[in-house]
Symmetry: C2
């Protein structure tokens, strides 16, 4: 692990968490946490940490060890460099955890208009598309755009049988066969379970190159596995640095001291606030590039924590509803509600100290007051002033918030943020006494879909559903 | 108004609202509405409708009359056709209500990769960008991409003084002056209040072409004004058909009969469900193209209804928290929470009967069961099967939902949907006894921003804020 550690650029690149406005001292006792509570919950939080460490030692949460998969990473980079010169377009076929991490990395770490740049402007790296829906207008629309000769498809499904992804694969496989004949298989790469599932079997049979998703890495914890790393490496993101960031977070998210472990502090604080009715978690980065990290977090948080059954079997509806917001944009959409509406929210802001670019606001020379005060400043100053202003105004309205502070948006800081949020999610799952690693609630919908699509073995369900759909509807 | 009515394609293009799964008969008495309640609330809902009609008659809700602004529309279309041939890129500078409607129209009614198509594939129409943030990485990134000679900027702000938009304008105006000299003004079009504000003054002084936002059309109700119509017309969207759709909705959203007025029924039902703890409204279109209508609705709903003060002065935190979701994508992200988590949500699905494209799923011939059941179907069938499956599964979990059914995604149906949602928002605001047309809660943040940016007149606030920021912070 030494090779990924401590080059000079890491200096000053630690992500910090400002929790000032989570405290009762800032937002009042009904809306913030106080020292006595934190002290009381300390041992319980430490237990959660210990249990997570036990799971890790038993190999049941391999996502925690992804920062250290050096051989895999070197193979990914070698493959990615080869692919980058063999294609001009790289398309991920995947949904949910097979897509959201890749989208988050792409938005955070590429030029905001990467796919519209000329090849030389993107260092000869391919365009990247992630097809995470089956809307025929979307799929046909993308097929309008690409040349099969110059396109590689990366099919990603842990189970190897996800309906949407298999449907996309069937469409793409046929197109490739028509266009390329026997060479079609060279244009498909499968990322899936090492041994199980239909995609694994198909890959073996047709000779697709494959990458493994370790068995105990669930979709929503898979961004640092080949699921996210291969596409990222193909478009030139420094995945070694990304993992070094995750390793850094692994280091500081291990300690029992709440004051030194952001994942543990935040899990404890959000758990305490949940108990007093803060059931909605708003993640609001003040960075266009970090907005899809909020969307990635939305899956992590919702699917991990939204559960009907406690680990001891008690039945109760548990869960915090995540919301992705975007600063400053959503100040003009959601902040009215956040200030004056129900006091049911906690805000996780993400701040950026130094944006990659600096844009000066020229003095207008017009004498118009709404232009004059801006002249001579930068957009960089303005966006951070608005972030601070919003945080302060929310605190005055007794709305609790905290802020992840990224010195810059780069792989090392993004790796820290992703890993910290994963650990935090596992820890709060323990505090809530639910299993954060399963998703039993999506089964009913899957079965109903199989039934409606006429899959064999689901004839009885199909009969029941048809009967239900045949009943009178109320339509206006 | 005759000219926009009843061409042959309107046949069968009525948007319908299926409310079956909002009813207690489908989801149980704790989670659905029953006939007796609906009967009881009928007169109160009719009053709300009447009061809205009174406001309209007094000219205080001009957004309701936007479907009938024929002269303005003809001027927009003439201008748009001229602009479309004069530029290859059209950039909107605006935020909140000045951006969200345009984004919604763009995503719904253009090719999903419009900006990446060749000019001939987009009928010679320009690329369209909406800059609704001030992140310097975003702004500089877009400036990398465009040629000032071939770009028109549409600055949109109702007040004529929105900080973010004025900052963008200052940046762009300077770039244009450097590149084009005296011809810079021909590349800026201002959409703002007819007489008031700094942008109006600047436009007059510098000779920008302008379009008016009628005085009682607030930002979040402005999509059918020149705010949304000009950019839409520039890229070739049929804005006459869009307004014909809105006029059609105006026709069916006038009646007092709940069973025939979707806006009134939904306002009443969501109000009743809010009173029993359904405080979160999830809009989930099963269409990639309609996803930004959910984002537009998010502003409409949050900013209109999130209020601390009732119209009679009582202080109480009111509001429903909107969430934008996307089918089928979010089945793999949010549906676990929706099924098993807290019973605090109502779902507004949007269905599409006929997508523009049909994508067949070929038979794979592999004998693999997770591919075999899909072969011979279409993605169109699959997406609708998943929507129905999710709706049914939610109902089984006692989670109420309704579905807007669009025969197709086209201007006529989109116009109906937007207008219906606007009327519904105004009506539920009345039922909640709040003012849905103001947004006092964003003032504190604006003032703090002025103070932090050193605007004159805000020196005292700046002193207070600096003192607060100088206090000890708790950072992990």
């Amino acid at each position: 692990m030494a090779r990924y550690e401590s080059p000079a650029w890491q200096m000053g690149q630690r992500v910090r968490l400002d929790v000032t406005n989570l405290m009762a001292t800032a937002v009042g006792p009904d809306n913030g946490v106080d020292e006595a509570e934190l002290e009381r919950i300390g041992p319980r939080a430490a237990q959660a940490l210990e249990r997570l460490g036990d799971l890790r030692a038993r190999g049941q949460v391999e996502w925690m060890d992804l920062p250290y998969q050096h051989e895999t990473v070197e193979r990914i980079i070698t493959t990615a460099d080869r692919l980058a010169s063999a294609c001009d377009t790289f398309v991920v076929l995947g949904i949910g955890g097979s897509a959201l991490g890749t989208i988050a990395l792409r938005t955070a770490l590429l030029h905001p208009f990467h796919n519209q740049l000329r090849p030389d402007q993107r260092n000869g790296r391919p365009r990247l598309y992630v097809l995470d829906n089956i809307d025929p207008d979307l799929i046909a629309g993308l097929l309008d755009l690409i040349d099969p000769q110059r396109t590689i498809f990366n099919v990603v499904t842990k189970s190897g049988s996800t309906g949407e992804t298999m449907a996309q694969l069937a469409v793409v496989r046929e197109r490739l066969k028509t266009a390329l004949g026997a060479r079609a298989a060279e244009h498909i790469i499968a990322t899936t379970d090492p041994t199980q599932g239909d995609l694994r079997r198909l890959a073996e049979r047709e000779g697709y190159q494959t990458f493994d998703i370790p068995p105990t890495v669930g979709g929503r914890f898979s961004v640092l596995s080949p699921v996210g790393l291969l596409p990222a490496a193909v478009v030139g993101i420094d995945v070694r640095e990304l993992l070094a960031g995750a390793a850094e977070a692994d280091r500081y998210c291990r300690g029992r001291d709440l004051e030194a472990n952001p994942a543990l502090f935040l899990a404890a604080a959000l758990f305490l606030l949940y108990q007093r009715g803060k059931t909605i978690t708003v993640m609001m980065p003040y960075s266009q590039r970090l907005r899809d990290i909020a969307d990635w977090f939305r899956q992590l948080w919702a699917e991990s924590l939204g559960k009907i059954r406690r680990v001891d079997g008690r039945v109760e509806h548990v869960g915090m509803t995540p919301i992705k917001a975007l600063g400053v944009t959503d100040q003009h959409s959601q902040v009215q509600l956040y200030m004056e509406g129900p006091a049911d929210k906690v805000f996780l802001f993400v701040a950026v100290d130094r944006y990659d670019r600096t844009v000066e606001i020229p003095s207008s020379g017009t004498g118009l007051s709404s232009l004059d005060y801006l002249g001579g400043h930068t957009l960089n100053e303005l966006i951070n002033a608005e972030r601070i202003a919003t945080t302060l105004a929310l605190a005055e309205h007794h709305r609790p918030s905290c802020t992840f502070e990224l010195p810059e948006v780069r792989p090392f800081t993004v790796g820290q943020l992703l890993y910290t949020l994963e650990v935090q999610t596992a820890l709060i799952g323990d505090l809530l006494e639910i299993n954060p690693f399963d998703q039993p609630g999506v089964e009913a919908g899957k079965i109903a879909t199989y039934a409606l699509m006429g899959r064999s073995g689901y004839e009885e369900q199909a009969r029941v559903i048809r009967a239900k759909l045949g009943q009178a509807r109320r339509v206006i």
